[in-house]
Symmetry: D5
Subunit: 116 residues, 10 copies
Amino acid sequence: MTTKPARTLDPIPNPYPGRDYEIFVEAPEFTTLCPKTGQPDFGTLTFRYTPGPFIIELKSLKLYLWSFRDEGHFHEEVTNLIADDFIRHAQPKQLEVVGRYNVRGGISTTVRVQYP
Amino acid sequence: MTTKPARTLDPIPNPYPGRDYEIFVEAPEFTTLCPKTGQPDFGTLTFRYTPGPFIIELKSLKLYLWSFRDEGHFHEEVTNLIADDFIRHAQPKQLEVVGRYNVRGGISTTVRVQYP
Amino acid sequence: MTTKPARTLDPIPNPYPGRDYEIFVEAPEFTTLCPKTGQPDFGTLTFRYTPGPFIIELKSLKLYLWSFRDEGHFHEEVTNLIADDFIRHAQPKQLEVVGRYNVRGGISTTVRVQYP
Amino acid sequence: MTTKPARTLDPIPNPYPGRDYEIFVEAPEFTTLCPKTGQPDFGTLTFRYTPGPFIIELKSLKLYLWSFRDEGHFHEEVTNLIADDFIRHAQPKQLEVVGRYNVRGGISTTVRVQYP
Amino acid sequence: MTTKPARTLDPIPNPYPGRDYEIFVEAPEFTTLCPKTGQPDFGTLTFRYTPGPFIIELKSLKLYLWSFRDEGHFHEEVTNLIADDFIRHAQPKQLEVVGRYNVRGGISTTVRVQYP
Amino acid sequence: MTTKPARTLDPIPNPYPGRDYEIFVEAPEFTTLCPKTGQPDFGTLTFRYTPGPFIIELKSLKLYLWSFRDEGHFHEEVTNLIADDFIRHAQPKQLEVVGRYNVRGGISTTVRVQYP
Amino acid sequence: MTTKPARTLDPIPNPYPGRDYEIFVEAPEFTTLCPKTGQPDFGTLTFRYTPGPFIIELKSLKLYLWSFRDEGHFHEEVTNLIADDFIRHAQPKQLEVVGRYNVRGGISTTVRVQYP
Amino acid sequence: MTTKPARTLDPIPNPYPGRDYEIFVEAPEFTTLCPKTGQPDFGTLTFRYTPGPFIIELKSLKLYLWSFRDEGHFHEEVTNLIADDFIRHAQPKQLEVVGRYNVRGGISTTVRVQYP
Amino acid sequence: MTTKPARTLDPIPNPYPGRDYEIFVEAPEFTTLCPKTGQPDFGTLTFRYTPGPFIIELKSLKLYLWSFRDEGHFHEEVTNLIADDFIRHAQPKQLEVVGRYNVRGGISTTVRVQYP
Amino acid sequence: MTTKPARTLDPIPNPYPGRDYEIFVEAPEFTTLCPKTGQPDFGTLTFRYTPGPFIIELKSLKLYLWSFRDEGHFHEEVTNLIADDFIRHAQPKQLEVVGRYNVRGGISTTVRVQYP
């Protein structure tokens, strides 16, 4: 039951390549482990992008996010890493990835990455 | 009772053609079928436009949106398709169509199309 | 794509039959047709029950609610009908079904059925 | 009791004519009749303006809005008409009139007029 | 366009007379005239009832509420009057009528009538 | 107990004069009298400013706002008057004063003054 | 302009004396002076009552509350005093008076009086 | 500046001893230290009581809560301890003390004490 | 980094055993795996209890909830199982455990267990 | 238990130095003492920055903010001071520090510092 899913983001052809439009995806069920303590971290990831040749298939995005469940990551690092993966697979014209992470020690953190 | 309504958007003359103003329409009762699984999808469509020669009659907009009830559509495709239909019938000076679709697999999607 | 699903509510054995506890289920994507005009109606259905020998499997509940999509129903009638079906299949010790239906003609309606 | 009030917007001298400042007025109790069905429509009107020589006396605004109570008007037309009246009487440097109208047929409409 | 609608509340047979259930109806577009000043008053009326032999048809309720549009009424009086009419036509087992009226002179008023 | 406080706004030296920063102050307990009817008016005043040589001591601001309690003022006039006093005493680089006044006759008013 | 209004609560005959019903009145613009410091206090007063022979005329309630504007009162004392006055003038079958007073020293106070 | 205030709750005579009424006090600025780690904890304390011979003077309550600022306390213990102090000083007929403490380790805690 | 924590709930002596009071704990970061699909489920668990001889140490509760991260569980089963564990370790006088689980297939589920 | 923590902000290497991205940190548990009265002040501090060579380790930020607990500070001064410390330790490309302080005397204050 704990098999780690493959880390894939499946691109599918943009159904309206002739027009610049915006897709916004919100995934509130993102969890990793703290690389220092090994304890679970929780957050919400959002993607706002203007697709280029591809859009990202949502089921593959769900599985991709799931693949971080058992890994240790710092918030700043994992948000940038996910942005890199998204850029590589989707080749978007514009992209904003935002990770909002839950309160730890009375402090909450949000990381926002913009491309290009 | 399940007769499919004609896919029409009735243009009526813009009552104030001499001035650029903005009309915002919110239709929270939009439903289609998922083209992969055949199961119902739900969302809210909004239209923000600066009318040109025409405004869109609201009853025809209601019937137009209803006409998608039994069809399979991807979110990205149907939002662009509706924008195209709106542009063709209303010939607006500016238009923004936004489709906000409900959570599937823990992820929600919003598609935003702007014209020109 | 428009095949009507079977109207089933699959009971599965209550995993904790020795204790009275409460299950609350919210299904905000319920749609029927108006029996007078044939136009779509939209609403949210909630179920609050103390299970007897069975609980209701959620996927079958989703399909069950979907089966009303192309049928004409009055709000008062369909909420009671759904309560009857739920009682017959789940044999709950207690049940409350609430249907909240969207505004029509400037007026919104909520129907609440309690059992026993 | 149903005497129709005079359609007047009383200008009074701007008490601070030497400075550009902004006045925002919200009137949530606006009602007309639908010109097609004769049935009541309801909405909220807001005015945001930079006064020129005059500001509009609020009691006259209340009576002015009241004067539409028994008249048939489309949303797009009446919002522009009210903007025209406001411009003629107040001679503002800038004006934005927004009319937000209640849901009809599952769809709500907002009309926004800007001057100049 | 200003023809006053007949003051009717059409009873239709209760589709589930064998069970006590609750119907809640919210009508946020209620307006009368102040009997002292003749100026418009605005409010929201809600009905919560356990039907007896009849339920009230919603379109007739809309027209019924509309029939007060040009009449002068005090809040306390009209809420009770409407409850009386509802009781006479629907013969409910239980009824609660609540009228929430907008701010006048910095003060807002709510009237709640319960039957029996 | 009803002694009117002196109308003063005490400037104190800006503790960080070498940097432009912003101070936002919200005072929700502002009351005057209507100059027409003598009846009380209520509102919220906010100040957003980039300090120059001075910042305004908060206790003196509280007393200053209190000094209007027994005076008759129109909303447009008093908001500008307060902005003038603030500018004279604090000599800010930038200032925005907003007065939001409560509903009267179903209509609410907001006045916004910007400097320079 | 600062003439203190007479402290009166005008009873008018209950228009539906044969039925017990509830009236709820909310007055968010109540202000007194602190008896210790002489500085203004602010709060919201609500009245929930089942009328006996009388209901309270709203304009007299507004003037009555206004009459406290220049007097020093503790929260606990003035809420009870107002309840006493209301009981004496309106002779209600039941009454609840609640005063919610704004934050002072980081602490807010609410006083609730019930009768009988 | 860090002198610890005396731990006092000053009772003052109940101004309406002949009637049972309720006082609700909300103090959102409560802070202690964690007895395990020495790090600050934060929370909101509320008191709901029916006064007996005394009410508690608010300034002394503010100072009393302040006196815990440099002490180590568990949430369950300090809420009960404060209730005990309140009962001893105010001799209330009824009392409910609720402490809502901020999230620690992804978990928040509320403690509710009732008397008698 | 993925070592599974021990499933423990550490009881510590109730610091106020002589009084019945209530503790409410909210843990919004609960995640398991779906026993059918192996995919992650997310929810919020709350505990409301009147302690007997023990209260539950919060850090052990955090670790306890974490121990379900890699296990497959149905919502109804795991909520009851957790209630059983809590009862066994804390021996509370009263307990309510509520699990609110995120939307799946457009439907959300809440399970509420009460003891005794 | 009241040992004052060292005033440190630990910089750690920016894990993605090749890209400009934004980090937003919210710390709602900030408390100092009023330099005039010695009484506690409370507020929320937020940091929005584009990291240069370093990001700030969150635990050190928590301890840093804690170090102000027993010191007297004016709102305007401490917000600027904290911005200075943050700039010195983190060397950010851009920074906005906002301090929102609780109501005192019916007035709340927010201070916003931007760099460069």
